[in-house]
């Protein structure tokens, strides 16, 4: 277990938000209350090794106590690598990964997301890749690969479809990133 302290001061439980549990359940974390804090998920989590203060087990516990602010003031939930090992090992079928996803949904609704995430979302919309290195073209050529990978980057039709899908999600309502159809560029270079 990580010894990283989640906050410098004392956490006031009386300020806990009793509605957070239901919010998370509605946003995909249905099995939240099944957690008995055994920490098996934490033993499998790379975030713990990297020293983040809120990892699966602690995120769940903080949600149960309604510690919305403590969770939103911290960027740990965005560090989840989606490896899904927690979900595989959980003996209580809690699905901790889905709970982190649900917590991200809560955070996004409050615009509590780090700049890097905004960039990633924008890149996803513009290229179909959360991370895409535009300058990789020459490296690819050196090893005899086409300039662009055979993905949305090279397929404008597919990219448009993807963008249409993204515009149907809650992301469009939040207006975190610009999503105009006209914004689609021919080159998709970022």
């Amino acid at each position: 277990m990580s010894n990283v302290q989640v906050a410098t001061g004392v956490i006031n439980l009386s300020e806990g938000d009793p509605g957070l549990v239901n919010e998370i359940k509605e946003l995909g974390g249905e099995e939240l209350l099944e957690c008995i804090q055994c920490a098996k998920c934490a033993a499998a989590c790379p975030m713990v090794l990297a020293g983040f203060s809120f990892f699966n087990k602690r995120v769940i516990h903080a949600i149960l106590l309604g510690l919305r602010d403590a969770l939103l003031d911290d960027s740990s939930i965005w560090a989840c690598q989606s490896c899904n090992r927690c979900t595989e090992v959980c003996p209580r079928e809690v699905n901790p990964f889905e709970i982190i996803q649900a917590m991200r949904r809560v955070a996004i609704r409050e615009f509590a997301l780090p700049t890097l995430s905004i960039e990633g979302l924008k890149s996803l919309y513009d290229t179909g890749h959360a991370v895409y290195l535009a300058g990789a073209g020459s490296t690819r050529a050196k090893v005899g690969l086409p300039d662009k990978p055979p993905s949305t980057v090279a397929n404008l039709e597919a990219l448009k479809e993807l963008q249409a899908i993204i515009r149907q999600t809650a992301l469009a309502d939040l207006g975190i990133i610009p999503m105009g159809e006209s914004d689609v560029t021919e080159t998709c270079e970022v």
């Binding site: 906050a7 956490i11 439980l13 549990v21 804090q37 516990h61």
Partner: protein, 669 residues
């Protein structure tokens, strides 16, 4: 010359892991009087016992020594095989090379082997002097006494009574019911405690074979299995119970106020009171210490006569009494009455008490809103001080935020090192009852470990979590009083890795379960001992959990250790069947290991008479001289007389001087 067979047990690895069995066997073979020495993996198993029987049948041996585990559990087993082989079963001696050798000297194999040799040599030396003895039989009084009228005592009494035996149920309070009568609902099924308990109380009160002795305490116990003579003190009630109908008129009339024990001191009762509305027997008692003696009506005095009306001036209680049960003119003995009972077996089921909150200064015990879980139980109960309305003590408001603190006085070296076992479940139960009735209540349980081992208990715990009861790992360090009757709870949340605090309206302390007051003294009267934690010690944790080292005395319920209701009842019913065995047999075997006086040589000095703890010896006249005589039925074989006799003419069979001297000599070699 005796022909001794020595049998050495490996006890799997228990003995063989520390003792070189083969070396001990070779050593034993050469001891004087030994004709053969064998070893076996498990001597107590069928093939092991068969070795002994065969050697006896083949005429090879006439004395048997087994070097194995403890005679406490295994001596009867080997005596039986010796008997089955065709020898007198007292021509057997046991050397304990496990509990007294291999276990404590596990890391010193050479030393353990050397010690095993000495223990075997000593047993062999004694075996040479063994003499055949005959078992004695004693007639059994077909009645039993159960001490303690809680759920365990009542079930033990009912089972024995239903088997047809007379049962005396002794309870120190005015009513049976015990702690369970105070509970609101009971886990894991949330039955209402009163609904399942009161019918049992009625059965106990009306059973033709049960004689209830409530408001009574055991004064002394003499005798042994089959024939215990018990003196019970019926405390003075100052009410004629034959006339009292339990109507409660006297209670209503009484002006005195005394903290109510049944409601854990949260309200008052009167000085004349009925313990609780569902009491069995429903009879009033006068708490004489708190009685105001209204109208100068001291007990046992004639009333003054009103100067104008000529009527006697009575106290409100007696004036209210329609049956004459409350009559203060009567002379009552403040010491009550001593009743003598003859019983064959005794079951001790004296239960428990929960710790008070006072010692826990860090939790602001001075605050009326810091309560024990038992107090909360009374608040939740329909028969409690708030009639089941969920009000906190300070202002009668309904608490919105509640903190439960577990392990208060349990797992704590300053008070009790043991786990009180029932707290996790009763905290969950109380939290659940509140949450189900008032879903908006915020409930936090601060725990160290949630221990919900038991049938259907984990499911219960999960259900409570689903209700939104919040569980925090971390012992609360402080409860501070804040303005406005609020309480601040401070803890370190281990799962969060951060200090936390909480403002609560009510703090509930899960205080430890401890032995009922006076248990140790009762144990002394019965000759059974308490363990370091103050609970009665059973004969063997696993195999003889309701038996005690004193034959004919059994234990059940929380007198033996913290237990929940299902476990207490199971143990009570186990104790009742164990206690019924001697009653059913009608006579019991008593080991002939008792003392005998060589009357011809007795000088009649009477030293032994004074010393005998069992009053089994008296001086009788024989041809004009006084001589000591031992009552076989009463002698417990303790050996005090044999050791003290100045003329050395008392023999303790099984432990004769010759036998003991031989043992010591062998040890000294």
């Amino acid at each position: 010359m005796p022909r001794i067979g020595v049998y050495i047990c490996h006890c799997g690895e228990n003995i063989a892991g520390a003792v070189n069995v083969e070396e001990v066997r070779k050593y034993a073979e050469k001891l004087p009087g030994v004709v053969l020495a064998r070893d076996y993996l498990f001597m107590c198993s069928d093939p092991g016992q068969e070795l002994i029987k065969q050697d006896i049948r083949n005429g090879l041996i006439d004395r048997v020594v087994v070097a194995a585990c403890t005679p406490r559990t295994h001596e009867p087993i080997f005596r039986k095989s010796v008997e089955d082989g065709g020898l007198n079963k007292y021509l057997f001696e046991m050397a304990n090379i496990r509990d007294q050798d291999s276990w404590p000297h596990w890391h010193d194999k050479e030393g353990a082997t050397a010690k095993a040799k000495k223990l075997v040599a000593s047993a062999v030396a004694k075996a040479a002097f063994l003499e055949p003895l005959d078992d004695r039989f004693v007639e059994v009084t077909r009645a039993s006494m159960v001490v303690g009228g809680g759920v365990a005592g009542m079930f033990a009494a009912l089972d024995l009574a239903n088997m047809g035996y007379k049962v005396y149920l002794v309870e120190k309070n005015p009513s049976v019911g015990g702690n369970m009568a105070k509970l609101d609902k009971t886990f894991p099924t949330n039955d209402c405690s009163a609904c399942i308990l009161t019918p049992i109380m009625v059965q106990v009160g009306t059973h033709p074979n049960i004689e209830l002795l409530t408001y009574s305490e055991v004064e002394s116990v003499e005798g042994s299995i089959g024939n215990f003579k018990v003196k019970v003190r019926k405390k003075q009630t100052y009410i004629d119970w034959d006339k009292c109908t339990g109507c409660g008129d006297c209670v209503n009339a009484c002006p005195a106020k005394v903290p109510n024990e049944f409601n854990e001191g949260m309200d008052n009762r009167k000085a004349i009171y009925i313990e609780f509305p569902q009491a069995v027997p429903k009879r009033a008692v006068v708490d004489i210490e708190h009685c105001l003696s209204c109208a100068k009506r001291t007990i046992g005095t004639k009333p003054r006569i009103h100067s104008k009306t000529g009527e006697p001036i009575l106290a409100p209680c007696e004036k209210a009494c329609k049956t004459g049960a409350c009559d203060r003119s009567r002379e009552y003995n403040p010491e009550g009455e001593i009743v003598e009972l003859n019983v064959g077996t005794i079951i001790v089921a004296t239960g428990y008490k929960v710790m008070d909150k006072a010692p826990f200064k860090e939790y602001s015990p001075q605050s009326p809103n810091v309560i024990t879980a038992m107090q909360l139980e009374r608040i939740l109960s329909a028969t409690g001080p708030t009639e089941g309305h969920f009000h906190r003590p300070s202002d009668g408001e309904k608490p919105k935020t509640i903190a439960f603190i577990s392990c208060v006085g349990s797992r704590d070296k300053r008070y009790h090192t043991y786990c009180s076992k029932v707290c996790c479940m009763y905290m969950l139960k109380e939290a659940r009852l509140i949450k189900e009735k008032y879903p908006d209540t915020n409930i936090y349980i601060f725990f160290i470990d949630v221990r919900t081992g038991g049938k259907d208990f984990e499911e219960y715990y999960n259900y409570c979590r689903d209700l939104g009861i919040k569980m925090l790992r971390g012992r609360v360090g402080a409860v501070d009083e804040l303005p406005g009757d609020r309480l601040r709870v401070r803890a370190y949340d281990v799962d969060l890795g951060a200090p936390v605090e909480l403002e609560a309206d009510l703090v509930v302390l899960a205080t430890a379960v401890e032995p009922a007051p006076g248990l140790e003294e009762l144990g002394r009267k019965l000759g059974i001992t308490c363990g370091s934690e103050g609970f009665l010690k059973e004969m063997h944790t696993k195999l003889y959990p309701v038996e005690t080292p004193v034959k004919g005395i059994y234990i059940a319920g929380c007198a033996q250790g913290p237990k929940d209701i299902p476990e207490s009842v199971s143990q009570a019913r186990a104790a009742s069947s164990a206690a019924a065995v001697p009653l059913t047999l009608g006579k019991v075997v008593v080991e002939p290991l008792i003392s005998e006086v060589n009357q011809r040589k007795c000088a009649g000095c009477g030293t032994c008479v004074q010393l005998c703890p069992y009053s089994a010896i008296r001086l009788v006249e024989d041809k004009g001289r006084l001589r000591a005589k031992i009552d076989e039925a009463l002698c417990a074989g303790c050996g005090v007389c044999a050791a003290a006799c100045p003329s050395g003419v008392i023999t303790l069979h099984g432990f004769t001087n010759a036998q003991i001297h031989a043992q010591i000599k062998a040890l000294a070699c």
